[in-house]
Subunit: 361 residues, 2 copies
C-alpha cells in the first residue's frame, strides 16, 4: 500500500488516520454487528454520530445556536438553487459578486427564480482579482448578496469578509471552509461541499442563520425547503449517512490537530512555499492572479509551453505527486492544498519544481 | 468482528464481500497511490468506474440504449420533485396512484408545480391493498402516471406492471429494484435510492426513456434539469463518487450471484418463509396486508401486545437478528429482506419466531 501526495482539487485527499478508522470499521462499527453504512439514519446509533458531527463542526468553526447546520446530499450546486427558492421572493432582486467559474455557476442556478444583479465581476480581467468593495453596486432591496469565498478553478480568494450592510451575505465556502478563522456571525448562510477541506465527497454542509428561515421564499417542493430539513435535523429523507460519518471523523481529526487556527497556519505555510517557488523561477513558472487575491487553497500555474506541461505532469506523477493537472477551463497546472494535505507535500512539490526547472529551464 | 443478520429497512445490509473489497481499497485503490474517495470524478480512473457501473446496471436490469441512466445525490425524494419539473408543464395534470406513505410523499414534492390527480388510493383500507387497475381514474391528458412499486413502510407491492396506455408510467422502485424481473421498456422512468436493494446510501439511480428528455418541463435551475445531467454523464456537479463506486461493486456481486432472476427466486423464498411463519402462528403473529398485495421486500407484522413486541425486539437483537422494529407510522415489527440478505437470515428469523411463540405464545 502506497499513498502519494495528492493535490486533487476535489474530491481531495483525506487524512490517512481517518481512512484507517473507516477501513477498520467498514465491516462492523462500534460492536453493533453491522457497518455504519448498513444502519438506519433514524437508529439511535447513527443519530448519535450525526449529533456529534453537528457539535464538533460548531466547535471547529465557532458556530452559535443562532445558526442551524444541515448535512445534505446533492452537492453545493443544489444548495445554490435552494438559496433563491428559500430566501428570495419570486422575481426579487439578488446581488452576486462574480470572481470565477463558480460564481457564474451559482447564477445559472437561480436566474429562473430571481432578478440577478451582478454587483461586481472580475471577468474582464480573466478572474485574476477580487473587485474592490468600493466598486460593488449593491442593491438596497436585495434578498441577499452572494460571494464565492474561494474560486477553485481560477485560484482567487477573498481574504476578508466584505461589509454588505444589513443585507444577508451568503458565501460558497466549498474550497476554503475550515482553512481560515472566519467570524460566522457576519454571514447569513455559509455552504460548502465537504469534498475539499471538510471531509469526503457526497455530503454538503449548509450553515443558516435561523432568522432567515422565517422568509417565505418561493413555491417549492418540500424536499427543497430548508425549514423542513431543519425541522427534521437533516433527516427529511435518507441522508448520505456514511459520508456524514466520515466528515465527522475528519472534524475530530481537525480538532485534534489544533483546529482552524492551526489549519490557517498550515495553509499559509503551504501556499507561501508554492508561490515563492513560482515567483523565484524567473518566469519559468507563472501564476497570473493579482498577489492580493491569490488563493491559499488552489494555485493554478503555467509553464512556457505545452510540451513542458505534459512532461511536468508525467514526471511529477512518477515522483509521487498526484493530480497536478490544471482545470480544462484554464489549462496548465494546479496545486490544491486543502486541510488534509501536509506541509511536507507542499515542500515536496516545491523541491520537484526546482529540480524540474534545473533540468528543463 | 461479528456480523449479524440485518433486517434494516434502509440504509440496509450490504454483501460482506463488497464491504471487504471496499475495506481493502480504502487507503489505496488499484495501485494509484490514493483512495477512490480521494480522486476527481473527472479523472480517467473514476470515469472508468462510472462507465462500468452504467454498463453493469444495464446488463443487470436489461436496460436498452433508449434509456439514459443517472447516478445522483439527493436521494429518491429529490427525484420525486424533479419528475414534475422535467416532465410536466406548469400546472399540467399528473396522475398518482397512492398505495402507502411514499406515494403520499411523492405528491408532497410536486403539488406546487402540477395539478395532482389521485387516480387511485388504498388509504381508506389503511394501505393494505393495491387498488385494482380497473378502478383507477386515469387522465388521458396526464403528463405521467406515478406509482410506488413497493411501499417500504406499509409492506404493499405491485406484482405486475399496470397498463396505463400511452401516458408514460413513472415508478419509484427504491425498495424493490433488482429483486424481480421487470420489463423496463414498459416504464417512462424508473428511479430508486440505492440504499436498499442496489448498493449503499447516498446515491440514487434514475432510468429515463430518452424521448421524455425532449419535454420542455418547467422553468428550473440547471442542477434540476435532467437534460443537463444526461449531457454531462451525471457529472454536472461533483457526484457522490464513493457511493457510486460501491454501488458498482454491488452490481458486480449481483451479476456474479446469478442476476435479477436469482434474486427474484431468493426474494420469493425469503418472503415465503416469513409469511408462512406468520400465517401458521394461529394469530400470534399478524400481517394485515391483503395476500395478493403482500410485499416480498418489507414484511410488517404484529404481536398481541406491546410488552411482547418489546420483548421480541430485545430477544431477537440478543440472538443476532438486527433492526426488526416496525416503522413508527405503523408500529409493531418489520422484516426487510433485500438482495444482500441471505435466505439463511430469513430461516434464522423464522426459527426465532417459532421459538419465541413457544415460549411466550
Amino acid at each position: 500500500m502506497t499513498r502519494h501526495y495528492n493535490f486533487s482539487a476535489g474530491p481531495a485527499a483525506l487524512p490517512e488516520s481517518v481512512l484507517r478508522q473507516a477501513q477498520a470499521e467498514m465491516l462492523e462499527w462500534n460492536g453493533i454487528g453491522a457497518s455504519i453504512v448498513e444502519i438506519s439514519h433514524r437508529s439511535a446509533d447513527f443519530m448519535a454520530v450525526a449529533e456529534q458531527a453537528d457539535q464538533d463542526l460548531r466547535t471547529l468553526l465557532g458556530i452559535s445556536d443562532d445558526y442551524a447546520i444541515l448535512f445534505l446530499g446533492g452537492g453545493a450546486t443544489t444548495q445554490q438553487a435552494l438559496l433563491a427558492l428559500n430566501f428570495a421572493s419570486p422575481g426579487q432582486r439578488v446581488d452576486y459578486v462574480v470572481t470565477g467559474h463558480w460564481g457564474k455557476t451559482a447564477i445559472k442556478q437561480v436566474s429562473h427564480y430571481v432578478d440577478v444583479h451582478v454587483a461586481a465581476s472580475s471577468e474582464a480581467d480573466g478572474f485574476t482579482s477580487i473587485p474592490p468593495r468600493a466598486s460593488w453596486t449593491l442593491s438596497p432591496d436585495a434578498a441577499y448578496v452572494h460571494i464565492t469565498d474561494n474560486e477553485t478553478i481560477h485560484g482567487v480568494e477573498f481574504h476578508d469578509t466584505p461589509d454588505v450592510g444589513q443585507v444577508p451575505l451568503i458565501a460558497d465556502f466549498s474550497s476554503s471552509i475550515a482553512s481560515e478563522v472566519v467570524d460566522v456571525s457576519r454571514y447569513g448562510v455559509i455552504y460548502a461541499g465537504a469534498q475539499k477541506n471538510l471531509g469526503p465527497v457526497g455530503v454538503a454542509v449548509v450553515i443558516i442563520r435561523r432568522d432567515l428561515l422565517e422568509r417565505a421564499g418561493q413555491p417549492r417542493a418540500d424536499i427543497f425547503d430548508y425549514r423542513s430539513h431543519v425541522a427534521r435535523d437533516s433527516m427529511l429523507n435518507t441522508p448520505p449517512t456514511w459520508n456524514w460519518y466520515l466528515a465527522g471523523l475528519m472534524f475530530k481529526w481537525m480538532l485534534a490537530e489544533g483546529g482552524v487556527a492551526e489549519f490557517a497556519r498550515r495553509s499559509a505555510a503551504k501556499s507561501a512555499l508554492v508561490y515563492e517557488a513560482i515567483d523565484a523561477s524567473g518566469g519559468f513558472y507563472r501564476n497570473t492572479v493579482q498577489p492580493a487575491a491569490r488563493s491559499r487553497m488552489n494555485i493554478p500555474f503555467f509553464l512556457p509551453d505545452e510540451t513542458l506541461t505534459t512532461r511536468f505532469l508525467a514526471e511529477s506523477k512518477a515522483g509521487g505527486l498526484l493530480a497536478l493537472k490544471g482545470h480544462k477551463a484554464v489549462g496548465g497546472l494546479r496545486a490544491s492544498l486543502y486541510n488534509a494535505l501536509p506541509v511536507d507535500a507542499a515542500q515536496a512539490l516545491v523541491d520537484f519544481m526546482r529540480d524540474f526547472q534545473q533540468r528543463h529551464g
